[in-house]
Amino acid sequence: MSDSLTTILEGRRSQPHMLIEVLQDIQKAHGYVSREAVSTVSLELGVPLMEVFRVANFYKAFSLEPVGKHVVTLCLGTACHVRGANPLVEQALSLLGLEDEGTTEDRLFTIEAVNCLGACALAPLVILDGVYHPNMTPAKLRALLRRVQRAESKEGVGHA
């Protein structure tokens, strides 16, 4: 068991109702919930494996696959929808060469659409790596993503 998993489970062992809290912390620490984590959590909390798997699948907060280095969250709440969130999705997907929500092959970007972030006055809203970008337009989004892409390609050259 990894160290961080031990810390996360501290004080929560054999308490089935802590399942969601534990998975939240794992998701935060590792970026996803691994197969190993699912079995460990099942054993340590005393929850059947099936239930852990179901919970990890049911809630949007959990991902069973690792996410990309940069996460682009597009809000599709009602306010964002009526103020033009769809063109933003089109723009992000086409720019990163994705068909649908998900992670790019180089694992640099993950695009996820969410159903409302509760910042509707700033619609349409995009979150890039935790930073809110209010009143987005496709052009602004393109510039933003291009900037990250450029920084990444520079970094890539530096490492090589």
Binding site: P16, E21, E51, V55, F58, C116, A121, L122, L125, P138
Partner: protein, 617 residues
Amino acid sequence: MPKITSTQNLEVLHERLRAERDDGALLMTICGGPGCQATNCQDVVTEVKKELGSNGLNGKVRLRVTGCHGFCEQGPIMVIDPSNIFYHHVGPEDVSEILNRTVRDGETIDRLLYTDPATNKKVVTEADVPFYQAQSPTLLSQNRWVDPLSIEDYIAIGGYGGLAKVLSGMTPEAVIEEIEASGLRGRGGGGFPTARKWAACRAARGEEKYVICNADEGDPGAFMDRGVLEGNPHAVLEGMIIGAYAIGCEKGYIYVRNEYPIAVDHANEAIRQAREYGFLGKDILGSGMTFDIEVARGGGAFVCGESTALMASLEGKVGEPRPKDIHTVEEGLWNKPTTLNNVETWANVPSIINRGAEWFAGMGTDNSKGTKILALTGQVKNTGLVEVAFGTSIRTVVDEIGGGGRDGRTIKAVQTGGPSGGCLPAALFDLPVDFDVLWEKGSMIGSGGLVVMDEKTCMVDVARYFLKFLQDESCGKCVPCRIGVDRLLEIVTDIVEGRGRPEQIELLKELGETVAQTALCGLGKTAPNPALSTLRYFPEEYEAHVSEHRCPAGVCTALIEYSIDSAACNGCGACLKSCPYGAIQGEKNTLHAIDPHLCTKCGICPTTCNENAIIVQ
């Protein structure tokens, strides 16, 4: 801080804290709500702290970072008291000027003042900003005076006074009677009388009982619970403690969306402070009462706003609702009697106790008492959180507070109550904000989301949007919701994509009614509302799509064409660069053209054109 062990000690502390805050120093309040944070109010705060240290104004100015003031559109917002000067769109570069000119010399800075769009005049004080004038702030206004991380700020405005009143002589029955007399109804959507819920839970058999605060605000277009829990967490705690006293229970939970990390932090910090001060834990204020609260984070599932699903989630399970033939006040969390109320409901409780049921019942309509916080969003000038007395007309909210349509467009509808609610046409804008009236008209107040739609919004597309949302968020357990909503979506998708047949409209109605009557939980039962209400009030838009294959609002991509207005295009190349599909051609400074075979009508180019030369029809 040693524990407060009696209500008298609390009164002494309250007086001291109030006096301390009344020392004549200027108060600089910066809104730190989610809206202002997204426009980087933190940078302003950092800059103020730095400047205060360096120019000798420390001690003369008190800085307070608060929760949401409501006027998110204008953030970051700063108010300077006692003169009540209101600055909007404040940036870190303005700070030194504000400190020098406004704080030291008492001048106002014109550039930072808000301009009333109706009169084109600059407004100096917060009280004169039209956005605030038609409101009845009782709960949200507390945000203005409280640093959410400071329990002392809350005590200074009389916080925990309601709890003290309850503990120094009211019986649990008297508390329930007071809430009953106030007419308080659940703010989460259902509008169920709060007192009746409490009384049933109190009467339910069992030693162990629970209270829960539902802060899993999942409605798209709603953020009032976020505003209250982030901005004034102690009001929620105080409400829950009073409720726990009335019901007779020792354990409470706040179930917060994980998408609201600040709300999670503020709630946790408030609980820590409340324990330290002796408002939570054993022997609360020396009364012998025991009660504690824990925060649980949601996992991101809209259905967990439903009470039985929320309780399943709190137990660490999949958030599937169960049949409610037995009420949760009898068998709820871990099959124990449980009272679940929403954030805003709990936060209203302390004021009702403090100021009396009569005061609260004095606001509102016959069956809807008090005030309601609404999240005003969409195609309206002033978006943000607003608090109005029940009975205020929708027109007042949209036109007076909201300032009317954006970019001179005509407002045609409001969508209230999120995915469970419905769309009301402009012709019904004289209707009051009221639980029962809106329900009769096929919508509902819901949790208080109010999304404004104008002529560029297609109502069939709105129905499709909500059905897609609900299909996504349905837990999938029962047939009417899982398959029924999917079929509703299939029909509406046929209509927006130009394949609609006239008989499908009848089928949409019949299926909608079937789902509404037979689905297992509240999510499913109300899922057809957006489709049914748009069908009821905007049949002509459905007609246009089905019979004429035309989308009047120019939204549905299968039914519209993009072209470039040759008179308006100046060949700047902005649209050409923006098009991800290479569908726009043209040399620099010459007329551009759209290739209809490549164009996917994605909607990007119109947003880049400064000349409004892209025609969509």
